[in-house]
Symmetry: C2
Subunit: 336 residues, 2 copies
């Protein structure tokens, strides 16, 4: 059993902020990352919470990310925003972009934000849900270094490239939150099994010849299995076209890894689309979402991908979150 200590969300945010700043991140860039870290812990996604901060710090120190970058936003067309993250973290570019994307989507009915020269954006649903909280349908796409092979091939050409959709409930909350990668399982799970020397279930990864393997090391040298076979490749390609090709970010085939210190900045990208349900009929939209969600919850045992997150978050806000002391020790060492 892992030894843990329970911390408030404010404390989690402060720990993340201090470590990021100590590593050379500017306070204005560290803040949105620290906020997202606390939120991710509140949602119960520990792998991308405080445990991820040492990787962020390492990447600032080795130059994979410019901790002091200042993102810039332009508006090349009336409904299209373009953010240059300037080799910095994705979070400040997303913050700056959303400030303009939200009112723009309300005016235009639909608007896009493309982000280039960016980095791993953490949990994608953390970002799209902010669009839903603003009453908009939020779509998000983010690309990653190539790890999925094309159908009939064995060499990776696209990342595990997740997409997300966040749906507003018409009352300032989030009715549905989907955030899923194009692979059967997250690459971090295969890496975890490799570290622990445990075999992986068949269907998670493929060897360098494209054949199934249960050896995580061989899987990491090969490719990640796409979810549902060629249809997972299709989802990864959708994301690659939007988040990398359209935004002008680095393609997964050219991007340096999101782990380790080698290869220079990955400079990958994101693409967000915000749609105002009020453009057609906001009240009818809210009713349809209530109907759809109701038809799912009416079935015993049935659930939506984002279910349970709200309850976890409420509990975390009052009770805090249990963090492994090993992680806390690593964070403490980073902050000096």
């Amino acid at each position: 059993m892992t030894e843990t200590k329970t911390l408030s969300l404010a404390k989690i945010e402060a720990l993340a902020f201090d470590a990021l700043v100590a590593a050379g991140t500017s306070p204005e860039n560290a803040r949105p990352l620290a906020v997202a870290t606390a939120q991710t812990e509140a949602d119960g996604v520990a792998s991308h919470g405080l445990a991820y901060i040492p990787i962020y710090c390492e990447h600032v120190q080795c130059g994979k990310v410019d901790g002091t970058a200042r993102p810039s936003i332009t508006q090349p067309r009336p409904a299209f925003l373009l953010a240059d993250a300037a080799t910095g973290f994705a979070h400040p570019a997303i913050d700056a972009g959303f400030e303009r994307l939200i009112p723009l989507a309300r005016d235009q009915g639909i608007a896009a934000l493309a982000i280039r020269k960016s980095y791993n954006c953490g949990v994608l649903g953390c970002h799209t849900q902010r669009l839903a909280q603003a009453g908009l349908v939020g779509l998000g796409f983010t690309n990653a270094p190539a790890s999925i092979a094309p159908s009939g091939g064995a060499k990776p050409v696209v990342g595990t490239n997740p997409f997300s959709i966040a749906v507003p409930d018409g009352q300032g909350g989030v009715a549905v939150l989907i955030d899923q990668s194009a692979s059967t399982i997250a690459k971090s799970e295969v890496m975890k099994h490799a570290r622990e020397g445990k075999p992986i279930p068949e269907g998670w990864a493929l060897d360098p010849e494209g054949k199934p393997t249960t050896d995580p090391q061989i899987g990491l040298a090969g490719s990640m299995a796409p979810s549902g076979g060629y249809k997972g490749v299709g989802v990864a390609l959708l994301v690659e076209v939007l988040a990398a090709a359209l935004s002008g970010a680095t393609l997964g085939i050219h991007a340096s890894p999101f782990s380790g210190t080698k290869g220079g900045p990955p400079r990958t990208g994101q693409f967000f689309v915000a749609i105002d349900p009020g453009a057609a009929d906001g009240a009818a939209f809210a009713q349809r979402i209530t109907d759809l969600v109701g038809a799912i919850h009416a079935q015993e045992g049935a659930h939506l991908p984002g279910d349970g997150r709200g309850a976890k978050r409420t509990r975390a806000a009052s009770e805090g979150v249990a963090i492994s002391t090993a992680t806390l020790d690593r964070i403490a060492a980073l902050s000096g």
Copy 2:
């Protein structure tokens, strides 16, 4: 072996047109359906080509579709078009909508077309590829009567809801065309096995309790298996939110079937998004797409979903397409 007769694309279009008009479809509504039918045959998707015309005709005659409907288009926001298909075929509404969507996307950078009170739109990629041929990234989503159950449940709540992305090659052609349903296999395949009294492979469909079945009849009474498990449900929900909830179309849980004559008009919907790669950098976009497609084709045996369609279409244009004589007999009977 099926007996066939080879027909030119013009002849296929004419046969489809005559049958639709004989069933009571107005000539202006029959034309786009007939054009799509010929194109679908050229692409080698026989199931949705001439073989589908008897179903369209039956649905005009029983009132599932109003063959003489006139779609109307409004523009509630600068980048958002809304089409009311008026219980008619999807094709004329899409045609009328695209006429405005294409120039709008070029002006705005991104634009949407939501279609309500519509119907089965046939092969979704037939529509999105027209956006790519106009130099735009085309996204398409279309909902269907519920046939996929939520995770943990057994009762269908969303359709096999396909999405499509068509990517321009920068020279008036289509570099990538993805068009895939959210289920492991098309429902029409399960129906075909049921008609032929053949068992289906495990993993295609589930029984009314949500357990795997190899009996197609039991599968049709139960639900279609989502591709990749809960991630297929996620894709279907994405499509349902856009194509039905946002457009104001009928949700899959309320829609009448796309087959048979019962239940009145399904009045389902579509959602299209068109994005101009020139909003960020058109030349850099084309280069990235060339790189990505090149990395796939450089691998022996590797292929993209839309590969081979172009060659088939070129051959069909000069040599025609072999059509089953049984289908031709059915069409001849319809045209009187």
